[in-house]
């Protein structure tokens, strides 16, 4: 452990611990003081007062959600590379800096262009499909 | 929509077409149908642009009477069409012609037990599932009336020949034609 980070490391841990304690304490108090009554259906899954059909874990969701998440994943990581670059941006020459960033961002935006063109962002009505 | 044209077609399908005064009863025509003509009649009405106001059953003695009520979006023309169910309390469905009839038929099946042949999903709609045989709107024996008892008595000085309503669906009553219309 490098000296300079030692103290800040302690701070981070301390606050994390406080977070855990502050989260756990009310939960424990609640467990101690709360009444515990069970009826026949108290622990059943809520679905507007009806018995649910099947379990929610069997649901497979739409591809659209995954597509958004997939695009995000790559995009997010891409953007994060820009963070260290941004801190060092004053250390490079103008032409080099600008051109590198423009190329990088340009390549990045192709992803949106592609997804847009492919119609990832459109949610058509599915009336015909069924 | 030309009402006279339509009336002619009704007469082909029905046993009786009656003109009724709107101010008294709230509808214009009264059409008595044979059970198997109901679907043809509904098709005709849809083609003429009528919409289905209502569908209900009335429990009277020879058999349960199913009443269809139609009206038109453009002109005032309220039509009552009625038909009797058969011995097995069955009736052809019109829910594929008038989709709105779907629920009305299910409701009628709930309340009166009329089975609509060809209905896609004749499950209880309003009553709980376990009340398949409840049929709450069927009259008790004591209260049940004959179909004549609930028909409009013609006004006393009526010059027109008496419109005797069908005592039984099999017997065709004399059709009443009326020249003028309201």
């Amino acid at each position: 452990m490098i000296e300079q980070y030692l103290v800040e490391y302690m701070y981070v841990w301390a606050l994390l611990l406080v977070g855990i304690i502050c989260g756990l304490a009310p939960l424990i108090i609640s467990m101690l003081f709360a009444p515990r009554e069970l009826f026949g259906k108290t622990r059943d899954t809520y679905e507007c007062g009806m018995d649910p059909f099947g379990t929610a874990w069997n649901i497979r969701f739409d591809v659209s959600y995954y597509l958004y998440a997939l695009i995000f994943l790559a995009f997010d990581v891409d953007v994060l590379y820009l963070f260290p670059v941004a801190t060092a941006f004053d250390k490079v020459s103008a032409v080099r800096g600008i051109s590198e960033i423009v190329i990088f961002v340009g390549i990045l935006s192709l992803a949106i262009v592609y997804a847009w063109a492919k119609g990832v962002f459109t949610w058509p009505n599915r009336r015909k499909a069924c | 929509m030309d009402i006279n044209q339509v009336k002619k077609q009704w007469q082909k399908l029905s046993t009786a077409v009656e003109d009724i005064e709107y101010a008294v009863s709230g509808h214009d025509y009264n059409v008595c149908l044979e059970r198997d003509k109901v679907r043809d009649f509904a098709t005709l009405m849809l083609n003429e642009g009528f919409y289905l106001v209502d569908l209900m059953a009335v429990h009277v003695t020879p058999a349960i009477e199913v009443v269809y009520q139609f009206a038109h979006f453009e002109t005032r023309c309220r039509v009552l069409a009625r038909a009797f169910v058969d011995d097995k309390v069955e009736m052809p469905t019109i829910s594929d012609i008038y989709q709105g009839a779907n629920w009305h038929e299910r409701e009628t099946r709930d309340f009166h037990g009329v089975v609509f042949i060809g209905h896609p999903y004749l499950k209880p709609l309003i009553l709980p599932e376990e009340d398949v045989d409840l049929k709450p709107l069927l009259k008790a024996e004591a209260k049940l009336k004959d179909v004549d008892a609930v028909r409009r008595k013609p006004p006393e000085p009526a010059p027109a020949p008496k419109a005797k309503p069908a005592p039984k669906p099999e017997v065709k009553p004399a059709a009443v034609k009326s020249q003028e219309q309201s």
Binding site: V7, E8, M10, Y11, V12, A14, L15, L16, V18, G19, I20, C22, G23, L24, P26, L27, I29, S30, M31, F33, A34, P35, E37, R43, D44, T45, Y46, E47, P52, A56, W57, I59, S64, Y65, Y68, A69, F72, L73, D76, V79, L80, F83, A86, T87, A88, F89, D90, A94, G97, I98, I101, V102, V105, L108, S109, I112, A115, W116, F121, W123 | -
Partner: protein
């Protein structure tokens, strides 16, 4: 023992920090909860909480205590481990970001040089908690809420990052203190108005608040991802939401509104904190204000607004910033 005494001041400071953190998180939840209900009331021409304490100021304390005294129901079909763990996971990390916030020039937990990253990193854990909690409930509405939460939060994280990045390109530092210092003549809201707007829109979505509160859309998904949560575990989610609101508003204050800078008040050394809080709470007021004004958006429209408007604009804004920084 010698050494122990040498670090004692530091240790005390750590403890004070921790306590302050707790005070801020809980205090903010109380203040915001009360303010939200009161403001909502007055926007709707009614007084809001009135009877519990003068003008109902104890209402939120009462609510909190009541939730503590409620039964914790764990549905039989849920995954008990994850179901109990998720609220904790949502709540525990909200304290660390408070460490790096510069409440004034002198009041700051610790000025990490990666301050912004700490905030972003720990804020992203919240999403995982929602995900786990919603899934563990084994409820279809929860699962719905989870899917919406995931898609929406991840999507809006990008414009948020991009708009902050535009500022970082100008300050070349993640340290929040340095960012505040960099806007001594003029706040970045003047230089980067577009980035500020984009950030503002994104934080509404990031904190799952109306009109972007799709993960807990009442009229569609009953209560969204915390449908099955009762009592204290539910309130931990709510506390985390309010804490996150505070944090994102603080980041907006630091990055765009000049942090704690403002006219120094006489006889008060720490006047910065007043300005800081003022700015943070006016931003939060704005969040409350729009919450009670607009209808909810539809999910696809929300997503497409992000991908079709916010991200392109943010990218363009970033490029312009990059060019301008080098040319000017």
């Amino acid at each position: 023992m010698e050494t122990f005494y040498s670090i004692l001041p530091e240790l005390i400071r750590i403890v004070i920090c921790a306590v302050c953190g707790a005070v801020i998180v809980f205090g903010n939840a109380l203040v915001m909860g009360y303010a939200e209900r009161k403001l909502a009331g007055h926007i709707m021409l009614r007084p809001g909480p009135m009877e519990v304490g003068p003008h109902g100021i104890y209402q939120l304390v009462i609510d909190g205590l009541k939730l503590m005294g409620k039964q914790l129901v764990v549905p039989a079909k849920a995954d008990p481990l994850l179901f109990r763990f998720a609220p904790l996971l949502a709540f525990a990390p909200v304290f660390v970001p408070l460490l790096v916030l510069p409440f004034s020039e002198k009041i700051q937990g610790f000025d990490l040089d990666i301050g912004l990253l700490v905030i972003l990193a720990l804020a992203s854990i919240n999403l995982l908690a929602i995900l786990i909690g919603g899934w563990a409930s084994n409820n279809k509405y929860s699962l719905f809420g989870v899917f919406r939460a995931v898609s929406q939060n991840v999507a809006y994280e990008i414009p948020m990052l991009l708009s902050l990045l535009a500022v970082v390109f100008m300050t070349n530092s993640f340290s929040l203190k340095a960012v505040v210092a960099a806007q001594s003549p003029v706040w970045f809201i003047v230089i980067q108005p577009l980035a500020f707007l984009i950030y503002l829109v994104s934080i509404v979505a990031e904190t799952n608040r109306a009109p972007f509160d799709l993960p807990e859309a009442e009229s569609e998904l009953t209560a969204g991802f915390h449908t099955e949560y009762s009592g204290m575990s539910f309130s931990l989610f709510v506390l985390a939401e309010y804490a996150n609101m505070f944090i994102v508003s603080s980041v907006a204050t630091v990055f765009f509104l000049g942090g704690s800078s403002g006219i120094p008040l006489p006889y008060f050394e720490y006047s910065g904190i007043i300005w800081f809080m003022l700015k943070v709470y006016s931003l939060m007021f704005f969040l409350v204000w729009i919450r009670w004004t607009y209808p909810r958006t539809r999910f696809d429209q929300l997503m497409n607004f992000c991908w079709k408007y916010l991200i392109p604009f943010a990218l363009v804004n970033l490029l312009i910033t990059v060019v301008m920084v080098k040319l000017l």
